[in-house]
Amino acid sequence: MDFSNFNGAEQAQMTKIIEKRQMQDFLRMYANLAEKCFNTCCNDFTSKALSSKEETCILNCTEKFIKHSERVGARFAEYNAGPKSVMST
């Protein structure tokens, strides 16, 4: 996005808003990741404790999702570099 036509007060407000959004996005990603890994890794409910197999699965699932997101983000940034805008009518 291009904020070059924003004045100081507008940039300050955007920065505050974006910081809040980032926290919300992070919390949503976290909840979504926990749900996804739980759904994939936990299929045995004969016990209430995580088995070591389930725990390994959860940790690998989390690790892999982060690496996946980073790679998608890197490619996405390449495609979206430059002054193109979503809202450009």
């Binding site: 974006i18 919390l27 990603m29 990741l33 926990a34 016990s47 209430k48 940790l59 989390t62």
Partner: protein
């Protein structure tokens, strides 16, 4: 979202600290989102969809209890892992935030 108004009507209008209110709302929304996901996931894991009757049977009830315990554990493990990775570059805009376990 309410949080976004912070800049507009800044803090203490009549003794109300908007930052505090917004933090509390973020916390409430986070817990609600977490709870709703737990309800959905444990429903998928434990509840038979034949719907022959409207009661939870013994097996389903026990499954729910264990599912809630495991879901809580998973949430904690994922949180610790994210924290140890110092998670910062996942979303286009960045993505940050300190957080503990529920």
């Amino acid at each position: 979202m309410s949080f976004l108004g912070g800049g507009r009507a800044p803090a203490s209008a009549g003794g109300v600290n908007q930052e505090k209110i917004e933090m509390a709302m973020t916390e409430l929304d986070t817990v609600t989102d977490f709870f709703n996901r737990m309800v959905q996931s444990c429903h998928a894991k434990c509840i038979s969809t034949r719907y022959a009757d409207g009661d939870l049977n013994k097996g389903e009830s026990v499954c729910i209890d264990r599912c809630v315990a495991k879901f809580n554990e998973v949430q904690k493990k994922v949180g610790e892992k994210l924290q140890s990775r110092g998670q910062a570059n996942t979303t286009p805009g960045g993505g940050a935030g300190g957080f503990g376990a529920f």
